[in-house]
Amino acid sequence: MRRRHLSAALAVLSASALAWSLPAQAAPAAVGQPAPAFSLKDTTGRLVQLADFAGKTVVLEWTNPGCPFVRKHYSSGNLPAQQKAAGSAGVVWLTVNSTSPRHGDYLAPAALGDWMKAQGAAPAATLLDPDGVVGRAYGAKTTPQMVVIQPQGRLAYVGAVDSIASAKPEDIARATQHVPAVLAQLAEGRPASPAVTVPYGCSVKYD
């Protein structure tokens, strides 16, 4: 009896010791910190590096055409319109798909490119992150999820597309669209507010 207690206590202690040391694992980047660098291929096979856009404002958008929340913002025209507006304002918009090839939602690069074209989307590039490394580095949890990187290369905004967490397209008109608001604030020399929101949508389909 006593021995059982002892072994249980030992097990708990060793587990605890292990757990206390756990937070050392790499955590995703937070607002105010340097944007993790990356180089990914886009749907046409071109290599795109974050470093290519030094000095520019960059928007990262996590996507997955299989997710109803992503479809809400594409079929309504909301995200394509934001992408066009950002492009004409000199902002670089990169759409990233971190869906694992092992998942049912995975689309081959050409199919993803076709889907984006069919939606009238206009990002500077649609990037593939099949092993999810970039998604994890940025802490992307949902699709859609947005990141804004200010020209000095630090994260200015991380979070949701807009302020109403729902899958209903009719909520778009009532919601605050966070990225255009953040871009406007940055353009006026003000810090982004809110800088962090709770993203909503489907989980990113990592491995």
Binding site: A11, F38, A89, G189, S203, D207
Partner: protein, 759 residues
């Protein structure tokens, strides 16, 4: 058996079974065994992933003070799940929107403790299998009824690997008699999964910053070198007063707060002298810094056994740095500040002769406003009546002037005082009150009835008061001045907008002086007419035309009442408007009953009493409608204003910012139902086909800011533009750094077209 007989028997059997079913229902209910008699088709919604049912539990029947619950029962297909109130890394909590008879109260969802659902590197909190979300129900003490109808709109996100946003509309009618206990087992199973507060437990959580240097070394993972992200640290959670038997058992922690904890990271637990300590990693993308953190604990059976426990403690949270926006480097900030598109600051104003003269002129122009016209016509009649009596004329003019100036000072003083007290008000604020609008409508109806000859004021007033009026005609003149200002205020904004915006920036005494000059300006034409005999002589002689003119003037008065009714209707809905019409009808009747010279004393008393009674009753009936409408006015006006069409969208500051960021210019029409100039502009220049086409050509986003009811955001935006009342028309160019361009208050078509061309 003949066919006829067979058919007759079959019909009888059908009838009998129907009767039996009718009788059996209540009996079974009374015994508490009925299978939810209300289970109509709408109580259940089935999708390929979920079977959802609206259920009730009331073991003692329905009644005030009795234990009663409603619940949404979700049966998930295998491997599908829905979410807890904090869904974790993704997902959405199930939302319930109830529709119940008035007075019936519902508690919050009594969430059972969720399970951790791992999705790759992410963790969600949710439920699989069978789930019931219970909500406690209470009926008002005076509730009587034989049934209760409940409607529910439920929305849930159901996920396996893929996610499906779904939901349903439910409706059940619960009989009041008899117990509702068919779903007892489901409710009890849900309650068994509810976390229990621990008596005497104390919890606190402190932020532990990450050790220095955690983010120093850059890493290269094959995708190019990148900075190692900063570890945001962890919460050091301490829970005292937990039962001693829990030591050594595995414990899962759940945060009820969303986006605070790193859901995927396992908290490290240890016991120190009977105190449970946990290092709980924070989310690097934390979006809030709450002061307290409700924590749910799932205590699993340990190596030594023991039953699973579900506990809840509320930890005081300290040391958490606020979630801050990114600081821009100072050099960049300074560079950007140069071209920043901050709205034009209200320029410092000094009291100058020009300002005073401008106020005088502005006041004089007010007399041309349609709102003031009916009152002016009254004054013209008075002038003609006084005829040759110079002394009476001058005295009347002075009294009228005093009345006008005093009302301006009172209105301005109230505005300044309320502003100093922190109220968000602008010129015309009194018109944002439905009760004020109704009062004005009553006053105008009385004046109109008087002009139309339904009654004479002298005949109506008690002898004492009538005598007073005859003895002090100056009081009458002064009151008509007050009336002129009250009537004019909806029209004053266009000419006073800018001046008032500036005046409120002045020290109080000087600001009041400006308002006094405005009043003097408004009274000036009449004062001159009464003081200068040459001018007065040019007025037509008294005669029969005066009687005709007087009756004719009743119609502008009634037209004003129609307009006020429209404003009130927008503010309070059709209930408030019908209430007003009822009051006006009773008022007309009372005026007639009082003014008619009755032969008999008894008849007179009866008719007059009836008039007063009707008036009192109609007021009592209408008043709540005017009160209730005040709160929901904003939504009502947005919906009811014909102005808000597909072409025009309701204004919000965010929309302006977002559109400009996207390079789209914005036009904002600041308007109010009670602002006559606004209505005129809306139907002319702003509805002009060429103007609209020009705006569409430049992709201008057209927004309408409706100030009919009080709206702090609109008042603040007017302040930023240096104005204090409507109308205001402003173009925001599509470049965020460009200055907004204000138009005049009565813009011409050409002015708007030019402004569009300049965008």
């Amino acid at each position: 058996m003949p066919a006829v007989l067979r058919r007759g028997l079959a019909a009888a059997a059908l009838l009998a079974s129907a009767v039996a079913a009718q009788a059996a229902g209540p009996l079974a209910q009374a015994l508490g065994t009925a299978p939810a008699p209300a289970a109509a088709a709408t109580a259940v919604v089935e999708t390929p992933q979920v079977r959802a049912e609206l259920v009730a539990h009331a073991p003692e029947g329905l009644g005030p003070g009795k234990p009663m619950w409603l619940g949404l029962k979700l049966q998930h297909e295998p491997h599908w799940h829905t979410y807890w109130k904090n869904p974790g890394d993704s997902g959405l909590p199930t939302r319930l929107e109830w529709t119940l008879p008035p007075g019936v109260q519902l508690g919050p969802i009594d969430w059972p403790v969720p399970h951790r659902l791992r999705v790759g590197p992410l963790v969600n909190y949710g439920f699989e299998g069978e789930l019931l979300l219970p909500v406690a129900l209470s009926l008002p003490a005076d509730w009587r009824g034989d049934s209760l109808e409940v409607s529910l709109r439920a929305d849930w996100l159901v996920c396996k690997e893929e996610c499906i946003p779904d939901g349903g509309d439910f409706r059940i009618r619960l009989p009041a008699q008899g117990a509702l206990a068919a779903h007892r087992a489901a409710f009890e199973a849900s309650w068994a999964q509810r976390p229990q507060a621990v008596a005497g437990a104390q919890a606190e959580a402190r932020h532990q910053p990450a050790p220095a240097g955690a983010a120093s070394a850059p890493v290269d993972d094959g995708h190019g070198p990148r900075a190692a992200p900063l570890d945001p640290g962890a919460l050091a959670l301490r829970i005292e007063g937990l039962p001693a038997g829990l030591q050594g058992r595995p414990i899962e922690l759940y945060s009820e707060v969303e986006a605070l904890i790193d859901h995927a990271a396992e908290p490290a637990l240890r016991w120190t002298g009977g105190v449970l300590e946990a290092a709980w990693p924070l989310s690097p993308q934390r979006s809030s810094s709450p002061a307290s953190l409700p924590v749910v604990l799932r205590v699993l059976p340990g190596p030594a056994g023991g039953e699973a426990l579900l506990l809840r403690v509320e930890a005081a949270l300290s040391g958490l740095p606020p979630v801050e926006a990114v600081e821009l480097p100072p050099a960049l900030q300074a560079a950007l500040a140069g071209g920043a598109a901050t709205p034009p600051p209200a320029e410092p104003v000094a009291l100058s002769l020009a300002l005073l003269l401008g106020a005088l002129l502005g006041g004089a122009i007010l007399n041309l406003m349609p709102c003031v016209f009916p009152v002016l016509s009254l004054k013209a009649l008075a002038l003609a009546q006084h005829g040759e009596d110079r002394r009476a004329l001058v005295g009347g003019g002075l009294a009228y002037t005093a009345g006008v100036i005093l009302s301006f000072l009172l209105l301005a003083g109230a505005l300044l005082a309320l502003r100093a007290a922190g109220e968000q008000l602008g010129w015309g604020f009194q018109l944002q009150s439905p009760a004020f609008i109704a009062g004005m409508a009553v006053l105008f109806t009385l004046i109109g009835l008087n002009l139309a000859g339904v009654f004479e004021i002298g005949g109506l007033l008690p002898a004492g008061l009538g005598g007073l009026r005859a003895r002090h005609p100056r009081v009458d003149d002064a009151l008509s001045g007050v009336l002129a200002v009250a009537v004019a205020s909806p029209c004053t904004a266009p000419f006073m907008g800018a001046a008032l915006g500036a005046a409120v920036a002045l020290p109080t005494a000087q600001a009041l002086l400006v308002f006094a000059m405005l009043g003097l300006g408004m009274a000036l034409p009449y004062l001159l007419l009464s003081a200068l005999p040459g001018l007065a002589k040019r007025l037509p002689r008294p005669g029969l035309w005066m009687v005709r003119f007087k009756v004719l003037m009743a119609f502008p008065m009634f037209a004003t009442v129609v307009w006020l009714g429209w404003v009130l209707g927008l503010q309070t809905g059709v209930e408030g408007l019908v209430g007003l019409l009822g009051v006006l009808l009773a008022l007309a009747f009372a005026a007639w009953a009082w003014a008619t010279p009755w032969a008999g004393g008894l008849g007179r008393t009866v008719w007059r009493g009836l008039g007063l009674l009707l008036l009192a009753a109609s007021l009592g009936w209408a008043w709540p409608g005017w009160q209730a409408g005040a709160g929901q006015g904003a939504a009502l006006t947005a919906a009811a204003q014909p102005a808000v069409s597909a072409d025009w969208q309701p204004w919000s500051a965010e929309k302006v910012v977002a559109a400009r960021a996207a390079g789209q210019p914005v036009f904002v029409d600041f308007t109010a139902a009670w602002c006559v100039t606004c209505q005129y502009n809306k139907r002319t220049v702003l509805a002009d086909a060429e103007v609209l086409a020009a705006m569409d050509g430049k992709r201008v986003l057209k927004l309408r800011a409706d100030w009919t009811m009080r709206d702090a955001a609109i008042t603040a935006e007017l302040g930023r533009l240096g104005r204090s009342g409507v109308p205001v028309y402003v173009f925001f160019p599509g470049r965020a750094e460009a200055q907004p361009q204000l138009l005049s208050e009565l813009p011409s078509r050409e002015e708007v077209l030019q402004a569009v061309a300049a965008l």
